[in-house]
């Protein structure tokens, strides 16, 4: 197994990092709280990378690690990690326009319980960015897919702790009669795994942001005449936190590699990745606030923007405990 990046991958990651640092500063994430349209110029930059939606999972993951680092709002994740792979799996004619960045979409699967699993409910939950994308792909209980204009369904926002990612409840009753395309349930399982792996990678980026902020603060904040980062209690907390982030980084990359290889390990690896990323995200969120002290508790400080993204992501596409439970089902079949 080789975790080394190719020259192209290094370039992709560096480009993403520089682009997001410039186009998605904390002020944009903050303004997005009250005005989602501020994310539009960002999308006009990110859409050049929409083709990642149908490439190797490892490349997509490298990119979304950076969108997670920036807590980027907008339709990029929904379009590339959910919608495009689904279109590819059903050989849909819209795919080329999506990969060209000319149109956007999202996917509606979960029912009332919020789990990304096949069900026959008409009201779909936790559909990201449903009001601002062009298309919604609705997946029914037998994994049949209906790709419909988002304007054809009614949406209602479900507000969460995270302002940077917007979720919607979507009533699909009006489009229940639209033409449907069969998706092999095994293909659905792979798509789900890919979405979870991409989210894990995104969360690794958010965790790293929170960790970097804590580390930088620990080096600059002086108390008792020394940087707080010289105190062992702070050092050991940061050492453990960085372990959590490093472990999650490796687990997410490994999961992406197993998906690209269609390896038998892939489902286990994806549960491991999302759980490790959830652990890293919540841990770095908590440690970072604690290490910042009072300033970290303020609305004015940017820390909470990333804390919110971290917590919101933990609860999407399966919590850490949910992934542990699914992993247990694979390790210890009943």
């Amino acid at each position: 197994m080789n975790f080394g990046l190719t020259d192209e991958q290094v370039m992709l990651r560096d480009t993403a990092r520089a682009l997001l640092a410039k186009e998605c500063p904390p002020i944009l994430v903050r303004e997005h709280v009250d005005d989602p349209t501020v994310a539009l110029p960002l999308w006009s930059q990110l859409k050049d990378f929409a083709a990642l939606g149908d490439g190797p999972c490892t490349d997509l993951c490298l990119f979304v690690e950076e969108t997670g680092y920036a807590a980027a709002p907008g339709p990029f994740f929904a379009t590339t990690a959910l919608f495009a792979p689904l279109l590819a799996a059903i050989d849909h004619e819209l795919l080329s326009a999506v990969l060209a960045g000319d149109t956007t979409g999202t996917v509606a699967v979960a029912g009332a319980d919020g789990h990304w699993m096949l069900n026959d409910e008409l009201v779909k939950t936790f559909v990201p960015e449903a009001d601002r994308v062009d298309w919604i792909a609705v997946v029914d209980a037998s994994a049949r897919v209906r790709v419909v204009p988002s304007a054809d369904v009614s949406t209602r926002q479900t507000r969460t702790v995270d302002f940077s990612r917007r979720f919607f409840e979507v009533d699909t009753a009006a489009v229940a009669g639209a033409p449907a395309i069969e998706l092999d349930p095994a293909a659905f399982a792979n798509l789900t795994a890919r979405a979870m792996a991409a989210l894990a990678a995104e969360m690794v980026g958010t965790s790293r942001r929170l960790f970097d902020m804590a580390l930088a603060y620990a080096k600059e904040r002086i108390q008792f005449d020394v940087p707080i980062g010289s105190f062992q209690a702070i050092q050991h907390r940061l050492a453990e936190c960085s372990l959590a982030v490093e472990r999650a980084t490796a687990a997410a990359q490994y999961a992406a590699m197993t998906l690209d290889a269609n390896d038998d390990e892939r489902f286990r690896a994806v549960h491991v990745a999302k759980a490790a990323a959830g652990n890293a995200a919540t841990r770095s969120a908590k440690d970072s606030i604690q290490i910042h002290g009072g300033i970290g508790y303020t609305w004015e400080h940017d820390l909470h923007l990333y804390l919110r993204r971290a917590i919101g992501s933990e609860y999407w596409l399966g919590t850490t405990s949910w992934h542990h439970d699914r992993l247990a089902d694979l390790l210890m079949p009943i």
Partner: protein, 394 residues
Amino acid sequence: MHLSWGPEEVAFREELCAFLDEHVPPEFERGYDYAGEGEGEDGTDIVPEWARQWQATLFDHGWMIPGYPPELGGRNCTLVQTLVYLEELASRRVIRSFHYPGYGIVAPSLLEFGNEEQKNLVPAAVRGDTIWCIGMSEPNAGSDLAGLQTRAVLDGDRFIVNGQKVWTSYASVAQKCFVYVRTDPDVPKHKGISLLIVDMDTPGIEVRPLRHLSRSAGFAEVFFTDVEVPVENLVGGLNDGWRITQGSLAHERAGLWVEGVCRLDATVQSLIGVAERCGRSRDAGVRRDIATFYEQASSLRALGHKGFSSFAQGSSAPEHSYMKMATSEIGKAASEYGMELQGAYGAVMDPERGEESGRWVNYFFLSFANTIAGGSSEIQRNIIAQRVLGLPRS
């Protein structure tokens, strides 16, 4: 980034497997999770005869340290092939040797810092014909190794050594010892340390075995009273010992992550078996806990490989600093969980109740060796904070 090994590694593994299928001694079927404990109390059976023969067989076939040239028990393998080798051995729960200091610390240190004559000691150290022990720790110098006080005074063509080492593993059976001594007490403590090769049968050396927590023989105290050591046994320069300690510790850590990770994997797999035998494998809490251990173990394996990939590309691999601390701490938690799964029987250690009885208590005890020896977990966290994260020293 890609998952599979290339054809060269696959062919390499096949050759290795053919060798192992033919030569692995049957004694390994009993399962060896840890070497370095005898059954008796004096420590003389720590390295059983069959294990000595196994190590010699590996050496003679070029499978002891595959990255070394044939005359040193290897076959000039690449780094990646070495990784394949370590993983294959660990997945079979086969260990190369029952005494790691010789091949793991002494050999690489002598190859890097020794003179030509000292390098001649390497083949026997790797083949296991010479058993070595490492005399670093002292009663007043543990984590703070540089505080060591065992004194060596140059007197013509020999050093006179006086002092005491402690926790010296293999001292009861070793022929030679790497002894770190103070050769200049008047300079800052890191600058006055030297490394000597000492024959354990030199007059003035007394070894007093100490038993491990488990009650079995393990390490020892070693006393030095006017021990004469020829000056040519100095390794590296006079007062240059600290640099070598840093080298030997790095050698100790470099390949150990694979064994740490594989041992942890095996422990987690065994937990599943215990849960089944104890009728707890359907308990939702137990299932979640075991999956959590699995998640930790397999993400650490990925982290080790990730570090290895940068190492093999010639970059530094900060990932490896995490591995010892993480695998040992999680291993401790997992072995404690093995006890907990057995309910009221968790603390039973009664041979009449079957071979398994007390196994997890033993794992639990042994797990402390890993969180204390070779740099405790607290010291590892200091290292991560200061060297990897760049935080200021306190």
